[in-house]
Symmetry: D2
Subunit: 154 residues, 4 copies
């Protein structure tokens, strides 16, 4: 059991061959990619469209994407067990609001219930045009509130 | 409709933010990664364990992995439409045996039924220890036969 | 010796640990990444600024990047020898104009003079805003002409 | 000036197009890849062969690679400035021995002398076959001593 207070969004992920290196196990930085993709999946599952959070809208329709960007200002990861091609992992997301303009999500990875790795991504809201710090956009505040409301009370 | 004669294994894939580049759309070589991961998923779905095909077994148990490796000797991709973060794609796999020691899989990607990209991966069986060409391992022959048997007759 | 008629831009590349997979050798799709990065390096060496070709200019200065984008519409690769961590490769670029709006670059990889792999990237010019086909931008025409002028006549 | 006490190995790195995402700047986890590649380059520059540190030796010659592996057990990164395609970065490595079986390297990234990002990779020595903790291999001890000897005394 890897969930704790504040946990929500349990997803799954399978280690793929291209995630490994010549030591035969997952190459470390792939875990950070998995964290970000798990965050995207959690947004999707809570009904937040990718276009509401991420730039990349169709330039033909004159839409430069959301006015607020959420770049990562800090990340970390800890690796406890080697992860092998074909391993099926559980990924548990625990989001946390830090202040009006930033939040972080911790990601606990387990295999057959045994903790194997952790990741952390910290985001700060900025105005996409000026890159000046700003408040979290409403869509993110909503996602955070839903996360807290659904969290295991511990 | 993107399926044709010989098609089987219809999977799905969502474009993630890290798959894009500063042009706002999928960075081209990610598609080749998706193809390989779709192949791994099709093996999994047909009951083939990753450890039966891919090296990376636990060295502590003295298992150096399968005796036959299936490296890619050729790949190609064609890109017809820009793919954006959040796009939900259908991926259709069409495997084909080329000779006793090689096979290829073509991957047709569609969005809302419209073809957007194609990929092709060609594999050749080699003895893992000597890297000499050899016959396809039985597990792969089984997967290919299952694919052909389940294929849309066109 | 891997150069032939039309070749120019000889670069080098070292295989890194993260480029390998659990089979102990380069994971196939990394080669396509290397091709694109070699193209970027060749532009740089011929005095073409990245900002003149690639989007990603600073949004704070109101510059949406070049008006013409050069997306890849086709790519392929052939793999003849396994590539291992630490291998030092020579990369030979051979650009070719296809028509007024497209060009391709072939990339020959060698180790100690022995050919080990090939890649091909085909680009088509489009207006960045509308994504409609257009002519190659002058900066690319200049790079192509310089390439042809410097090529080994064979 | 970004060097401090204990710093050594100043390398360079150019941000490539495939390192960016649809926000127009470097996608965060690429920085961790750059850190590892900078470490590999520093080993190379100090005369340590890749095959002495990394697995992936030719299986045909019956060499399973070095008996000690150095997996990453922790990593982190901080991002202060957006990094754009074509940016030329200085990378300063500061290695540090933690105990008989582990060490870490911090990576300071600067652009035109201005700090833009930091990374940290912590490695622990294990026996490759058993994955049991062990002492750092002599080749790594030598690299660490050379690093300390060449470091700016501050």
């Amino acid at each position: 059991m890897i969930a704790g207070p504040g946990s929500c969004w349990q997803l799954t992920r399978t280690v793929r061959f291209g995630d490994t290196d010549a030591a035969g196990v997952m190459h470390f930085h792939q875990l950070l990619r998995w964290c970000h993709e798990a965050w995207e999946e959690s947004l999707e599952r809570s009904g937040v469209a990718a276009a509401a959070v991420f730039p990349g809208g169709d330039p033909a329709v004159g839409d430069g994407g959301p006015s607020v960007a959420l770049p990562i200002v800090h990340c970390s990861a800890d690796f406890r067990r080697p992860l092998r091609c074909g391993d099926r992992l559980q990924v548990l997301l625990s989001p946390r609001r830090l202040d009006g303009g930033s939040f972080e999500v911790s990601y606990a990875f387990a295999r057959d219930g045994e903790p194997v790795a952790w990741g952390l991504l910290r985001h700060r809201a900025i105005e996409a045009a000026s890159r000046r710090p700003c408040d979290l956009p409403p869509v993110l505040e909503g996602w955070l509130e839903a996360a807290v409301a659904s969290a295991d009370p511990g």
